[in-house]
C-alpha cells in the first residue's frame, strides 16, 4: 500500500524493500512520512494573513510615498511661484532705478543744476600745456565705452531676460 501524499509538491517516497504481508488480524493504517514543507490548513490561513498584511503595508507605504512626493512637488511649485514673483519685483525695481539713474545723468538736468543751483558757467577757453617728454595715452571716450561694455556683459546676463 502506498502512502497518501498531499497533492502539491510531494515527491514520491523512496523505494523500500518489500515488507512481508501483514496478517489480517492486526491490519492497522500504515504510517507515512510527512513532507517537511507541508502546512496544515490552519498554518496556511495564518500565512495568508501575514502575506495580506505585508501587501497592505507595501501598498499603504507606496500610497503614502506618492502623496508625500506630490505634496513636496506642490510645495516646490508654490515656492517656485513665490521666487518668480520675487524676481519680478526685483526686476521691476532694477528697471526703475536704472531709469532714475539715467534721468539724473541726463545732460539737461546736470546743466540746469550747475547753472541754476551752483551758479556755474561754461569756461571761456582752455589752455593746453605742452608736456616735456613722452606722454602716455589718455583714456579716450572709446576706451570708456569698451570698459562699460565689459562691465555690462557681466551683469546683463542676470538682468536681461524676464524670469
Amino acid at each position: 500500500m502506498t502512502a497518501v501524499l498531499p497533492e502539491r509538491g510531494i515527491r514520491p517516497a523512496p523505494q523500500r524493500a518489500p515488507r512481508p504481508e501483514p496478517k489480517a488480524a492486526d491490519a492497522t493504517p500504515a504510517l507515512s512520512v510527512v513532507d517537511p514543507r507541508y502546512r496544515t490548513p490552519l498554518q496556511r490561513r495564518a500565512r495568508a494573513r501575514v502575506m495580506g498584511m505585508l501587501v497592505l503595508i507595501v501598498v499603504a507605504s507606496a500610497l503614502f510615498g506618492l502623496v508625500t512626493s506630490h505634496v513636496a512637488l506642490t510645495q516646490g511649485q508654490f515656492r517656485l511661484e513665490d521666487m518668480r514673483a520675487e524676481a519680478e519685483v526685483h526686476q521691476a525695481r532694477y528697471e526703475r532705478l536704472r531709469l532714475e539713474v539715467a534721468e539724473l545723468e541726463s545732460p539737461g538736468r546736470i546743466v540746469a543744476a550747475a547753472q541754476e543751483r551752483l551758479g556755474m558757467v561754461p569756461p571761456p577757453g582752455i589752455t593746453y600745456l605742452s608736456p616735456i617728454g613722452p606722454v602716455t595715452d589718455m583714456a579716450t571716450g572709446d576706451d570708456r565705452v569698451e570698459a562699460a561694455a565689459e562691465d555690462w556683459s557681466t551683469v546683463k546676463r542676470q538682468l536681461a531676460s524676464r524670469p
Binding site: T74, A102, A149, W152, S153, R157, S161, R162
Partner: protein
C-alpha cells in the same frame, strides 16, 4: 426572487397542505398584471442602463476630445508675457531709450459686483470720467482696460481699494531719460510698444524681442491648481542698440542749434557731427522753431536724411576738387575772373559785381566766387562733374538704411539744360541731404576717402554679448594730394574768407559756407527771400577729428557765414574739449603749405555770394543774383 422567498416561507414553517394553500394564494396575488409590471420594470432598467452606457461611450469615447477641450478651456489660463524691448544706448553705454514696466488697471466686468460704485470710486483715482468707467465695467466681456500705464502711486491706491474684479497687470512703457533729445533719430513707439518711426522702426526686429507665454491650470476662484498643467515659455528680451551718438555732444549740438534758430528766426535747423576717420555720427540734431515764440522743439522727422536742399556754394568743393584731381587746374593757377559770365541764355554773376580780377583758385574758393567756379566747372565738363558728384555720394542713399532716407536729386547729364553747366558747379539744379553733403566734406577731411556714415556701433544680445556692426564702407574719391590741397583752400575760407565765424581759437578749421535759394514747391523758379544757410567743415585741419555740417532754413540774416558758421564753431569747440583733442603744436606744418597760395586779404574786401565776412554785409540780395536754372 422576492416572490420565491415568500413562497418558501410556509414550506419551512408548516405542512405540505399549508404550503400548497400559500402557493395558490401567492399565484392569485401576482396574476398577469404583476408579471407585466415586473417585465416593464426590467425593460425600463435595461433601457436606462443602455442609455447611460451609450452616454458614457459618447462622453468618454466619441466626443472625449471635445469635452476635454471644453474642460481645459475653463481651467487652463494662458497669459502672454510681453517681451521687454531692447534699450538704446549712446556710444558710452548711457541710456537714450529704455523700457520700464508700468502698472495697467484692468477689470473683468463679469466679476465686478457693483459697476456703478466701482466706477465712482476709481474715477478720481485714475483721473478718468466715471461714466466712461461705468460703461467699460458693464460690458459683457471678460477683460477691459480701465487705465493704461499708471504711475506707482496710482497703482498703490488701486491696489488698496481691493475692488473685486479690478486688478493690475504689468505693461512695458518706453522712456527717454534725456527727454526728447535726438527724438527724430531715435523715433517713437506705439501704445503696443512697437516702433513707429526712426531707429525704433528701422531696428524693430532686433529691439522687439519675442513674447513669451505662461499656461497654468486654475480653479474657479482663480487660484493655481497644484500639480495641474503648467508651462512657462519665458519671453526673449530684444537686443540693445549701441549708437555712435555721444549724449553730451548731442545735447550741446542741440543747444547751440536751438539758440541760433531763435536768434536768426529760422524755421528749422539741422546739425551733424561726424567722427572723420570712422564715419560715426557723434551728434545729429533736427530742430524746428517753436510756435508763437516758444523754444525750438524736436522736428517731426530726421530732416538730416529725409529733407533735400539745393546746396549752393558748399558744392563748389566738388567742382574744384574734381578739377584738381583731373589736373585741369593747379592750386596756384590764377584766373581772370569777371563780374559776370554768360552760360547759354543766362548771365551768372557774383553776389556783388566786381571788375575783372585775377584770382587764384584759393581766392575763388575763399571768396566763394560763382563766376570762377563756373569757369572751372566748364573746363571739367558735365560728364566728369556728374561722375565726381556721384563719387562723393550724391544721388544715392548713404547706406544708413534710415526709414525715409532720400537719395537727393541729381539729373542725368544727358538731361542737363544749356545752363546746367553753370548752375551745377555752384550747387544749383541739384538737391542733397545734409548727410550726403557732410559725407562729401568728410571725404576731403579723410584724405580723399569717402566713408559711409554710421549710426549704430553695435548690438547687444540677451546674454550681454556685444556684436559690433560691420566697418563703414569706404571708397577713394580723390587722391590724398588733392584732398590736402582742397583742405588748404578751405582753411583759407575760414581764415580770411566767408567762414571766419567758424574759427576756433587754437585750431585750424577748414570749411565752406553756402547760401542757397529755396526752389518753389511744384513749380520752376525760387521762393522770394527764402534761403538755406549752410556751413560744412572739419577740425583740426591738420589731422581732422570731426566733420560738422550746420544747415539753417530761412534764417535772418540769410548767410551761412553769419548764422551757420558760429554754430559750427560752438559745436566744434565743445567736441574738441570733450574728446581731449589738443591743438596742433606751434611747430606744426601749416595746412596751407601744400602748395596752395594764401588767399589775398584784398580779395576779401568785396562782398561774396555767401555774405563775406568783410567788411559790411547786406541782408538783401541785389537784383543780379544768380539766375534760376
Amino acid at each position: 426572487m422576492t416572490a420565491r422567498g415568500r413562497s418558501t416561507g410556509p414550506r419551512r414553517n408548516g405542512s405540505a397542505a399549508n404550503t400548497r394553500r400559500a402557493g395558490a394564494a401567492d399565484r392569485g396575488r401576482r396574476g398577469p398584471n404583476s408579471r407585466g409590471r415586473l417585465a416593464a420594470t426590467r425593460a425600463a432598467m435595461v433601457i436606462a442602463f443602455l442609455v447611460l452606457a451609450a452616454r458614457v461611450v459618447q462622453v468618454q469615447g466619441v466626443a472625449a476630445d471635445r469635452y476635454s477641450a471644453v474642460g481645459e478651456s475653463q481651467r487652463i489660463r494662458s497669459v502672454t508675457l510681453p517681451a521687454e524691448r531692447g534699450a538704446i544706448f549712446d556710444r558710452s553705454g548711457r541710456d537714450l531709450a529704455l523700457t520700464v514696466r508700468q502698472s495697467t488697471v484692468v477689470a473683468d466686468p463679469r466679476m465686478v459686483e457693483d459697476p456703478l460704485g466701482a466706477a465712482g470710486t476709481l474715477a478720481p483715482v485714475l483721473g478718468v470720467d466715471a461714466a466712461l468707467l461705468q460703461t467699460r465695467l458693464t460690458r459683457d466681456l471678460g477683460f477691459v482696460y480701465l487705465a493704461r500705464r499708471v504711475d506707482d502711486a496710482v497703482a498703490e491706491k488701486v491696489k488698496a481699494l481691493a475692488i473685486p474684479g479690478v486688478s493690475l497687470i504689468d505693461e512695458p512703457e518706453r522712456f527717454l531719460p534725456a527727454g526728447e533729445m535726438a527724438l527724430p533719430l531715435l523715433g517713437k513707439v506705439g501704445s503696443d510698444n512697437n516702433g513707429l518711426s526712426g531707429l525704433e522702426t528701422q531696428y524693430e526686429d532686433r529691439l522687439a524681442g519675442k513674447p513669451g507665454q505662461i499656461v497654468v491650470e486654475r480653479d474657479p476662484r482663480g487660484g493655481d491648481i497644484p500639480g495641474g498643467v503648467r508651462r512657462f515659455d519665458p519671453s526673449a528680451r530684444g537686443d540693445d542698440l549701441v549708437l555712435t551718438l555721444d549724449r553730451s555732444l548731442q545735447y550741446e549740438t542741440e543747444r547751440a542749434l536751438a539758440a541760433e534758430i531763435v536768434s536768426s528766426n529760422s524755421k528749422s535747423g539741422t546739425a551733424i557731427v561726424m567722427q572723420t576717420r570712422s564715419g560715426e555720427i557723434l551728434a545729429l540734431a533736427n530742430l524746428q522753431a517753436g510756435v508763437d515764440g516758444a523754444a525750438p522743439r524736436q522736428a517731426d522727422k530726421n530732416m538730416a536724411v529725409t529733407n533735400v536742399f539745393e546746396p549752393g556754394s558748399v558744392n563748389k568743393v566738388i567742382t574744384i576738387s574734381a578739377a584738381l584731381e583731373e589736373g585741369i587746374i593747379k592750386p596756384d593757377d590764377v584766373l581772370d575772373v569777371p563780374g559776370t559770365i554768360k552760360v547759354a541764355d543766362h548771365v551768372f554773376s557774383e553776389h556783388d559785381p566786381h571788375p575783372l580780377a585775377k584770382w587764384s583758385i584759393t581766392d575763388i574758393m575763399a571768396n566763394s566766387s560763382n563766376v570762377g567756379s563756373i569757369m572751372i566747372g566748364q573746363r571739367v565738363g558735365k560728364q566728369r562733374i556728374d561722375n565726381y558728384l556721384r563719387d562723393y555720394g550724391f544721388g544715392a542713399k548713404t547706406g544708413l538704411g534710415f526709414p525715409g532716407e532720400s537719395r537727393g536729386i541729381l539729373l542725368d547729364p544727358k538731361k542737363w539744360s544749356g545752363t546746367s553747366i553753370g548752375t551745377v558747379p555752384i550747387g544749383q539744379g541739384l538737391a542733397v541731404t545734409s548727410m550726403q553733403m557732410l559725407a562729401a566734406y568728410n571725404a576731403v577731411a579723410n584724405g580723399g576717402t569717402w566713408v559711409a556714415p554710421k549710426l549704430v556701433k553695435a548690438t547687444v544680445d540677451t546674454e550681454g554679448r556685444r556684436h559690433p556692426t560691420p566697418e563703414a564702407e569706404t571708397r577713394r574719391v580723390v587722391s590724398a594730394r588733392t584732398a590736402q590741397q582742397v583742405t588748404a583752400m578751405l582753411s583759407e575760407v575760414v581764415r580770411v574768407g566767408t567762414g571766419t565765424a567758424a574759427a576756433v581759437d587754437g585750431y585750424t578749421v577748414a570749411g565752406k559756407t553756402g547760401t542757397a535759394r529755396k526752389p518753389l514747391e511744384g513749380a520752376r523758379g525760387y521762393q522770394a527771400g527764402a534761403y538755406v544757410a549752410t556751413f560744412a567743415g572739419f577740425v583740426p585741419a591738420e589731422r581732422p577729428e570731426f566733420t560738422v555740417i550746420v544747415v539753417l532754413d530761412e534764417p535772418t540774416p540769410i548767410y551761412g557765414g553769419l548764422v551757420s558758421a558760429p554754430v559750427f564753431a560752438q559745436v566744434a569747440r565743445y567736441a574738441l574739449r570733450q574728446y581731449q583733442v589738443p591743438p596742433p603744436p606751434p611747430d606744426a606744418v601749416p595746412v596751407a603749405a601744400a602748395g596752395v597760395p594764401k588767399s589775398t586779404p584784398a580779395s576779401a574786401g568785396q562782398a561774396t555770394s555767401d555774405g563775406a565776412a568783410i567788411p559790411v554785409v547786406t541782408t538783401t540780395l541785389p537784383a543780379s543774383s544768380p539766375p534760376t536754372p
